[in-house]
Symmetry: none
Subunit: 249 residues, 2 copies
DNA sequence: CGCTTGTCTGTGATTTCCCTGAGAAACACA
DNA sequence: TGTGTTTCTCAGGGAAATCACAGACAAGCG
């Protein structure tokens, strides 16, 4: 089931209307806290654990709809945790966290059952998007929720990564796509450059803050060029997206 | 009966609308878990057993629509299991798992009854495809579901292994065929290289991830050469197939 | 009206990712 | 056993994406 909050954001809910439950497992406290905060902001109920033991224990009583699982845990192998987790909750989808340079065979086979993974350092938008996809496909949430975002005549399909403005297909790069998705998931709301940086870029990004301006400018060229603009600047505050008002000639 | 899920994937269902039931029998836990995960993702209901005794017991009460049966079991010969299984469930189709170097003529006789087999190490696409075929032909699922995949002017027949683009017959190697089948079973959806590797290559494949790129390039030569392309790269995300949009001159 | 501050965008360096040719190894079949 | 086919590794080339930098531009304020 999906519902629309007063702020206009669309939330995933379970069929009975209660919030989606997610278990986050990582030994780095900074990561679990970062994720917990971001996922709570999605309106989900979050529990976290710092090792395999705690993960299994929490899973038993919390009965989450999805699990975020770091493959590098202090007490047991990620695959062992996965196996035992599967015995408790056979159908729960898992989003694995792996180091970018991890040996590939450690993650081999993990997507076979419909699970997914992201590599560290990740961006929060990426984690949230993949979790939403897993939950949507697992049937824990209402099947009616689909993968298409719409703002005015602009549509973005999260499965096919296709973007259309009016009838025109628009090709976006990975970063442009994530930025637009973040804007479109928060229509008519001003998002500061800091917020955007925190959600769309990886948590260890150490660059200049003006990449956001740069990518907003890329997006405008592709989406607003020669049309009524949908992306607006609020000087000193940030950016927002909203349906275009047709020009009155 | 077949039904189409929100994601556009087609699921096999029994005539009464309930999910197909499959029993997986293998003594290696990693194999039963891998298969269970993959087959659950197909929307099927799965039970597993680790030996002949357990298999027969589970079969009696679970009454599966199909059985995946390893020929090498610790407690009894695969043929013995098969015989007793047949006494319980005379019409259930069986997919045998055999080692690659096993004597093949023992299997050859068995598949005469409509059963089928795959050799270890297998790819999940292969197992799923053969199971779908067995279930379809056994009549446990609605007969209307046929074996031809269609995306735009591209058709792929899972029974005859024939592929046509427009009017032209296209010869594919085994791997190319499986890759294309996987793409066509998930049209308009971006599939990552990891997903493709996990489904199309055997579970023990330890090679370079760029075989996927290589085989995509082979497929393009055969399918897209001199035509409007149907296979698209989403840089940093994966590949997807969709009907070609005719070029507007 | 000019100044300050914040925003936009052209240029180019660097990195990352993808494609594909060449050839070796494994396999299938006669 | 020999021959043609298929699978896969390796590596070079090339295209695309990302980002820093800096100057142009615009908004708001005194």
């Amino acid at each position: 089931m999906t519902t629309t909050s007063p702020q206009g954001r669309t939330e995933l809910l379970r069929p009975d209307g209660s919030p989606v439950r997610v278990l986050v497992v990582d030994d780095e406290l900074s990561i679990t806290e970062l994720l917990s905060m971001a996922l709570r902001y999605e309106g989900w109920q979050i529990r976290s654990a710092g090792d395999g033991q705690g993960a299994l224990q929490t899973a038993r009583e919390f009965r989450p709809d999805a699990v975020v699982l770091d493959m590098m845990l202090p007490d047991m192998d990620g695959l062992t945790v996965l196996g035992r987790l599967r015995r408790e909750l056979p159908d729960v989808p898992v989003l694995f966290l792996t180091a970018k340079d991890a040996v590939e065979d450690r993650i081999a086979g993990l997507t076979a059952g419909g699970d997914d993974y992201v590599t560290k350092p990740f961006s929060l938008e990426e984690v949230v998007a993949r979790l939403r996809g897993l939950i949507r496909r697992s049937g824990a949430a209402d099947r009616r929720s689909d993968s298409v975002l719409v703002v005015g005549d602009l549509t973005l399909d999260e499965d096919s990564h296709e973007v259309y403005r009016g009838g025109d297909s628009i090709h976006l790069t990975a970063t442009e796509f994530e930025l637009l998705r973040f804007l479109m998931r928060n229509p008519r709301r001003v998002l500061s450059k800091a917020q955007i940086l925190d959600r769309v870029w990886s948590y260890d990004f150490g660059g200049q803050a003006n990449v956001v301006e740069l990518y907003i400018s890329y997006l405008r060229r592709k989406i607003d060029a020669g049309r009524e603009p949908m992306i607006h600047t609020r000087r000193g505050a940030g950016y927002l997206i909203k349906p275009a008002v047709p020009a009155v000639p």
